[in-house]
Amino acid sequence: MTIADIKRILNAEVLCGEQHLEKEVHNACGSDMMSDVLAFVKDQSVLLTGLVNLQVVRTAEMMDMLCIVFVRGKKPTAEIIALAEEFGIVLLQSPLRLFSACGLLYQNGLNG
């Protein structure tokens, strides 16, 4: 699926990276613990998280991820959005909870 599909499925708002919405993604992971993302993630291109700080963007960048979905309606600061823009990472914001958001994407064909 594309990042645009994720936006639609999760009823999400695009916070930055509108120009990258047509990029293809195949795998995702959901976690609020960045250490675990660094430890266990391999080639996942989407991170779903309820954690909102600069380290989320830095962690995603270290893992070459294309998109971060902030769940539970969490709103990142302008500084966080600016860093994601600098790295070319799409930021989405969804009102859904982490479990539901992951479940919907899985149901629609995104793998873990």
Partner: protein, 138 residues
Amino acid sequence: MKLQYTIPADDFTRAGEASAAVKATLKRLGFPSETIRRVAIAMYEGEINMVIHASGGEATVDIFPEKILMELADNGPGIPDIDKAMTEGFSTAPETARHLGFGAGMGLPNIKKYTDELTIHTELGKGTRLCMVVNVAQ
């Protein structure tokens, strides 16, 4: 090629800047992406550790065609029990680190996982020096 960085003290917002810069340099030099990711993760975890536990420090990265050497040196409290610190899930990090998604006791185990060689020199009350080697994937 030698890169040097000062890791700022107690500034979580800047933790990871040096790792991102190293990652960008390796990318520009055309290293394999798997090698770059291993270097970036090991150094990032090291940087986070220095900010959490040691009021920052110095990072030196030596880039060779066949391997990347990273040395992270701090003047922090030292590690009392390295075996314990290497155990997944063991953490002495404060609550502030957990709020940022770290402090789960995965830092040093992660560094070991992503490097080919890891040597820890530590002295209580004096500081810690981490020497890490990542071999370049052929």
